[in-house]
């Protein structure tokens, strides 16, 4: 069952990548993207209105070809999503009878300090991971973009962490940061620095989880930035250099403004995936325990909202409350994405 939330972040990245990529900005591999789009849009809007039914009839092979995705999507994604709306107003233990309780689950949610703590934990982990992740990704992309040799190697190397099993990474990080017997503390001790209780302090726990996410997703974002960088015409750089701009000035006056749509895309995707951290704390802090499983580690410092949701649904069998948690959390993610959108797109000139 853990596969649903586990798989959550991973596919979101690549799928939305290919969906949003062409719409955002012409990237080199897809330089024909917008061109290809234009003719298709024109007959739809300017054609002599043949009516939607005839269009469907004329293009049925295409619709059939794309239908598997939508069928699978509606059965495994859309229906469960809509069903959780219904569940959020019920009290249900998973096999017994459902009982309609109105807004009671949301009232419980409002009064539940653990829910609010989980939201705080999630936001802190998200900030601690996303900010360094996107910054490092940009730096890495600029560095790789300026190299002439082994570029294919660098791209593969950057991409490998994002396709590595998250559970394996979490176990590895758990061993490296282990309080008493971890690699980091062994190094600290050999340097005569006192060991840090990484896995029991409430801040270092978040730091470890954030480090894990940064490690996994920096390369993926760097690849996206790299694609964006290569779409910037070299004439602009030459002109800037002729005008006497240094590399830092070029970076901030040419690279960043022209990358803005790409940055917006990565910020939105990282927000959506970064707020859904689940597997990391679940694997790091004994989810298999018979007593008190999925509690999020010492002091519940690693209890993210999705882990709390999972705990309520599958440990406590309180499916109605769990549904209320995810819907409240969905609204929160939506809010943050909108804020991000406004912040990053502020100066975007209308095309």
């Amino acid at each position: 069952m853990s596969s649903t939330p586990v798989a959550g972040p991973a596919p979101t990245g690549p799928t939305s990548g290919s969906d949003t990529g062409p719409a955002g900005q012409p990237s080199p591999d897809r330089s024909r993207g917008p061109g290809r789009r234009a003719p298709r849009i024109r007959p739809v809007s300017a054609g002599s209105r043949p009516g939607p039914r005839r269009r469907v009839a004329r293009h049925w092979p295409q619709y059939v070809a794309i239908s598997p995705y939508y069928l699978i999507f509606s059965v495994f994604m859309l229906f469960p999503v809509l069903y959780t709306v219904y569940l959020a107003f019920q009290k249900w233990d998973g096999i017994g009878d459902m009982q309609f309780v109105g807004f009671q689950q949301f009232r419980f949610l409002w009064d539940d300090p653990i829910f609010w703590m989980s939201v705080r934990n999630t936001l802190v982990i998200w900030v601690l991971s996303t900010v360094p992740m996107l910054f490092l990704a940009l730096v890495l992309a600029v560095l790789v973009n300026s190299t002439k040799r082994f570029t294919a190697f660098y791209r593969v190397a950057l991409f490998i962490p994002s396709i590595t099993s998250l559970v394996a990474i979490a176990i590895f990080f758990g061993a490296v940061f282990s309080n008493n017997f971890g690699l980091i503390n062994a190094i600290l001790k050999s340097l005569h620095v006192s060991a840090v209780p990484w896995m029991s302090n409430e801040w270092t726990i978040k730091l470890v989880i954030a480090a894990l996410m940064t490690w996994q997703w920096t390369g993926y974002n760097a690849i996206i930035y790299l694609a964006g960088l290569q779409a910037i015409p070299s004439e602009l750089y030459e002109a800037a250099r002729m005008d006497g701009a240094g590399p830092v000035r070029i970076f901030f006056s040419i690279t960043i403004p022209l990358l803005r749509p790409i940055i917006l895309f990565t910020v939105v995707v990282s927000t959506v995936t970064g707020l859904q951290s689940f597997t990391e704390p679940q694997v790091l802090f004994g989810s298999e325990a018979a007593t008190n499983p999925n509690s999020g580690g010492p002091g519940q410092a690693g209890l993210t909202t999705l882990l709390y949701f999972y705990h309520q649904a599958f440990d406590n069998n309180d499916f109605g409350y769990a549904a209320a948690i995810v819907w409240a959390f969905f609204l929160l993610i939506l809010l943050i994405v909108l804020i991000n959108w406004r912040l990053v797109q502020r100066k975007e000139p209308r095309p």
Partner: protein
């Protein structure tokens, strides 16, 4: 290029169709409809039953085709999903000890085992364990596979260094109460500074709760987690922390701690012996087992149940009672460290022999009497959910140095909220 893409797509479609067809066939195990099916499906988890006994059951019941699935991952969730349809549900299933209480309100999803022959076998099995699978109106939905009678595992060599008694009988006598045990821990830590007494204080709390006759919710579905019996357990559990003999291990470093001597004792169930010998094979012969301070307690122990949709409940129970006969339970003990639920098994050679990991000690002398004296307590369906904040707050004390009184208040108020959400009065 174009051709190869078409080929690829064809291959993909064919593969998907084949996979779909296989899945469709696998789904129809034919366990619905008539109640005399000869094909029975058994679900358990890795280590939940002795694989050897299960293999023998297949040959012993030659007229039945017993199809076993070792289900990985979150077993309860998969069982919950499976129970929703007769096609998907197994005919016999394991139910983990920590989950059995949450299935009791939906006892109608299972066969009352007393109607298929369990009533005759009940006297041969531990009454307190059967009670865990019995509804308040007397239906028995699970037959006990194993139990987890608890004891103190201790390092004889470290006890000797600290001048403490080393003989199991003497240790049991001298460390009879929790305070005696903690006092020994202080001496041990003083003599061997790197060695702590307990793994974490949540473990101590769990043991003390298991020694009582009341848990967090009473028979009238009323929250009693704020009463004296829990408060006393809490105060006792916090003592090792204040005395500085708590190793505060709440992460995955337990394996390392147990093998390098950071833990001088472990309080745990009989099956915990396997965890210790797996984690620290190098300490073989150095460990001994003594009685748990403060009286017997139980941790874990699973059941076999028959879902109401089972194709042949009578035959299914015959298989269950064969797998869980005293003789086969003794084999399960040797094979998978499943501690028998039928006291008759405690006299069989498989259990009465010495254990080399414990220096040849006959551990049944500790576990056997403990198993029969474990107090019977009512465990409500929401008990595990309501108890969670107590454990979380105990780790908060260890991790953040949170004030124990404040932690107690927070635990009680959270537990009350969970109780309200779970429909407890």
């Amino acid at each position: 290029m174009d051709l190869s893409r078409r080929r690829f797509l064809q291959a993909a479609v064919l593969t998907a169709a084949a996979a779909g067809a296989t899945a469709a066939c696998g789904g129809g195990s034919g366990s619905s409809g008539s109640k005399d099916s000869k094909d029975l499906a058994l679900w358990y988890w890795s280590g939940g039953l002795s694989d050897k006994v299960v293999a023998d059951a297949k040959t012993h019941f030659s007229d039945i085709t017993l199809k076993t699935s070792v289900v990985g991952g979150d077993f309860k969730t998969k069982l919950l999903t499976g129970l929703r349809s007769a096609q998907a549900a197994p005919d016999i299933t394991g139910v983990k000890g920590e989950d059995i209480a949450s299935f009791l309100p939906n006892a109608d999803r299972f066969i009352d085992l007393k109607t298929v022959g369990a009533d005759k076998l009940v006297p041969d099995y531990l009454a307190w364990k059967l009670k865990q699978a019995t509804t308040q109106d007397g239906k028995l939905i699970g037959f006990p596979i194993d139990i987890g009678p608890c004891a103190t595992f201790y390092r004889e060599d470290l006890f000797a260094q600290a001048g403490l008694p080393t003989d199991p009988a003497k240790v049991s006598a001298q460390l009879a109460t929790w305070d005696d045990y903690f006092a020994a821990g202080v001496e041990l830590h003083k003599a061997v500074p790197k060695t702590f007494l307990v793994n974490n204080i949540g473990a101590v709390f769990g043991m003390i709760i298991g020694q009582g006759t009341q848990r967090f919710i009473d028979e009238d579905n009323k929250f009693i987690g704020d009463q004296d019996h829990i408060r006393t357990a809490w105060t006792t559990a916090v003592k090792p922390y204040t005395l500085g003999i708590d190793a505060k291990i709440n992460d995955n470093t337990w394996n390392a701690a147990i093998s390098n001597g950071a833990l001088g004792t472990e309080i745990g169930a009989a099956w915990h012996a396997l965890d210790i010998s797996n984690a620290a094979p190098g300490t073989k012969g150095k460990w001994r087992v003594a009685s748990l301070p403060g009286g017997p307690s139980n941790l874990g122990g699973s059941f076999l149940a028959i879902p109401a949709t089972s194709g042949n409940p009578e035959e299914a129970f015959k298989i269950i009672s064969w797998i869980l006969s005293p003789e086969n339970q003794a084999r399960g003990f040797t094979d998978a460290a499943l501690f028998p639920t039928a006291p008759a098994a405690y006299k069989l050679p498989a259990l009465t022999g010495g254990d080399a990991f414990f220096g040849g000690q006959k551990t049944i002398e500790i576990f056997g009497p403990a198993a029969e004296k474990i107090p019977s307590a009512y465990e409500a369906p929401a008990d595990a959910a309501v108890s969670a904040p107590f454990y979380s707050e105990l780790t908060s004390i260890e991790a953040k140095g949170k004030d124990p009184d404040e932690a107690w208040k927070d635990a009680v108020s959270q537990a009350k909220q969970i109780a309200e959400r779970q429909g407890v009065k």
